[in-house]
């Protein structure tokens, strides 16, 4: 499954759902494409029974310039919050990962894709850096999905 985290009404935060939209029709029909607001218990219960899950989210914080793409593979013993870029959601992706780890509800394989966001205010347009990065982000997510599907 692929989960796009974010909301389309908060500028760069809409990157995750935008990638999901772009993936439709371009990945095998057996791959579930979902959107989430990032609420951690829902994320956890969405991915807990999945063999593999790919999550796409906007990232905030850190020193990376806007538009930078991140990819992190989360393992069962690896603290996600230290390895992954900070999600743009306070009680969001990192909480979902850690809670899932504590409660043994991580999927078999969890791959995080993020794009460093710049603007998170109300609005429906991406910052120029994120707009320029969306196609490449989508391509990288698709490559992971196709690779996982083939295996």
């Amino acid at each position: 499954m692929v989960i796009g985290v974010g909301t389309e009404f908060r500028c760069d935060d809409g990157a995750g759902p935008a990638v999901i939209q772009r993936l439709r029709g371009t990945v095998p029909a057996s791959v579930e494409l979902l959107c989430s607001d990032g609420e951690p218990t829902r994320l956890m219960e969405t991915w807990m029974d999945a063999g593999a899950a790919v999550v796409v989210d906007a990232a905030s914080g850190g020193d990376a310039p806007p538009g930078t793409l991140h990819r992190v593979v989360v393992g069962p013993g690896q603290p996600g919050s230290a390895a992954a870029p900070a999600s743009s959601h306070g009680l969001g992706l990192s909480t979902a990962i850690e809670l899932s780890r504590v409660l043994s509800r991580l999927p078999g394989l969890l791959i995080l894709h993020g794009v460093q966001g710049e603007v998170f205010g109300y609005g429906r347009t991406f910052s120029p850096a994120v707009a320029a990065a969306i196609d490449e982000l989508t391509a990288r997510v698709r490559a992971d999905v196709l690779s996982l599907s083939a295996s």
Binding site: G6, T7, E8, F9, R10, D13, S36, D37, G38, E39, P40, T41, R42, E45, S60, G61, A86, S88, H89, G90, L91, T95, E98, L99, V102, L103, F120, Y122, G123
Partner: protein, 433 residues
């Protein structure tokens, strides 16, 4: 100001999607000079976004304002538009809306109690650490939340941004057996909810009594959730249509949010669980009333920290109500009533988990929205929270900044503001001399 010895502390701030939280304190000579709280950005974007759209669209659009309480936004918007169009949704369709709303209360309150608020009382940085030490406790909270989500999925189609809700009712209504299937889960949830009240009632609560005027809905005969008229502890009683005559929003210099006050009063007012409970505790269903009594709540509650008990009692209430509504459910013959547009203004109000949520829509003859107003509970509570913080911080001036920040987060989280669903959500600046 340059002569002051300034010390700035920033908590582990996290960029928040729903808004940014900041608290500025200026202290001098052991006295608190100034408190400035900025915790919420009102949904002005959505008000503008709605203009020019069809009267059928607000339930879908406003549901996206908040992932935690979409049903509250859907319900208030539908009530407003149905009022404008002279339509009324009652009988089994209204009961179905109340049932859907019960699901949201259960899910939202359970998330707040277990993952956000309880860790503050138990000395944990957050829900993850609590889960690590007390897995069974967190599992109970998650099971409760699942029960709420199950109701939302059965009626709304899905728990996040329910898609089955529409002006006039629903796109489709569940068969009785679809709801009966929830019975077992809800009976277990009822036990969990009662146990939750016992659990949180045993916490240690800081002393704080607030004297704000309390504002909540009233539905005589039942605990207010999905509809009602407004009442206050100051004796006010008015309908949704008069909301903007009684609630005045004013810009304050330090905040992007408007501060709300009640007309004719310079004091602050509060909406949310404390207000709902204090003004309506006599209408709690039997098990919720018994749980409240066992928890020592009495008829009223004016300590914001004890709101966690009130929320737990409201979860019992919502589960109890859900079971009653499912037992009495008869599938409505039609999933919705016809709602024809007309040039008019309508007002709708309901009790979001965090408090009174008001919406107004101005329609033209074709049903195009020419004006919209959305006043969420966090926006209304901001002035009251700021005032309470003044009292709270004054008694803690000697604490180091880090402890002060943690205590202030704890205090603010007691009101369950929209910003609160971040483990550390507050940027705190302290200026000391």
């Amino acid at each position: 100001m340059t002569h002051r010895r300034e010390r700035t502390l920033t908590t582990a701030g996290i960029a928040r999607v729903e808004g940014e939280g900041s608290l500025y304190l200026r202290l001098s000579d052991g006295h608190l000079d100034e408190v400035r709280l900025n915790i919420y950005e009102p949904p002005r974007f959505f008000e503008a976004f709605l203009r020019g759209r069809s009267y059928t669209e607000p339930p879908d659009i406003t549901a996206r304002i908040c992932g935690i309480c979409p049903v509250a936004y859907q319900t208030s918007s539908a009530l407003a538009i149905e009022a404008a169009c002279g339509a009324r949704v009652d009988g089994p369709l209204a009961s179905l809306r109340r049932l859907l709303y019960c699901g949201e209360w259960i899910a939202s309150h359970s998330l707040h109690i277990y993952l956000l608020h309880a860790p503050d009382f138990l000395g944990y940085p957050g829900g993850i650490e609590l889960a690590r030490d007390q897995r069974a406790v967190i599992e109970r909270g998650l099971a409760l939340r699942r029960a709420g989500n199950a109701i939302m999925e059965a009626i709304g189609g899905r728990a996040i941004h329910p898609v089955n809700f529409r002006i006039g009712g629903f796109y489709s209504v569940p068969a009785k057996e679809d709801l009966d299937r929830l019975a077992g889960q809800l009976q277990a949830a009822l036990d969990d909810a009662v146990e939750t009240v016992r659990w949180v009632a045993g916490f240690d609560f800081p002393d704080l009594t607030v004297d704000h005027e309390l504002l909540a809905l009233s539905q005589p005969g039942s605990y207010p959730i999905e509809s009602g008229s407004l009442v206050s502890s100051g004796g006010r009683a008015f309908s949704a249509a008069d909301f903007e005559e009684h609630v005045i929003e004013e810009q304050v210099p330090h905040s992007t949010a408007l501060h709300a006050r009640l007309a004719g009063s310079e004091g602050t007012y509060l909406t949310g669980p404390l207000a709902r409970y204090t003004l309506n505790s006599r209408w709690l269903p039997p098990l919720a009333a018994a749980a409240a009594a066992d928890a020592g709540l009495g008829d009223s509650c004016r300590n914001p920290f004890r709101s966690i008990i009130v929320r737990a009692v409201e979860v019992v209430c919502a589960v109890e109500e859900a079971i009653r509504l499912i037992e009495g459910y008869q599938r409505p013959p039609l999933p919705s009533v016809a709602v024809a547009p007309r040039a008019a203004t309508g007002h709708g109000v309901s009790e979001a988990p965090r408090g009174v949520l008001y919406q107004r829509y101005d329609l033209d003859a074709e049903g195009i929205i020419v004006g919209a107003r959305i006043i969420p509970p966090t926006s209304q509570n901001q002035a009251a929270i700021e005032r309470d913080l003044r009292q709270f911080v004054q008694a803690r001036l000697e604490l180091p900044d880090e402890q002060l920040a943690a205590d202030c987060e704890h205090a603010i989280r007691s009101y369950d503001p929209c910003i609160s669903c971040a483990t550390h959500f507050l940027d705190l600046q302290v200026e000391r001399t």
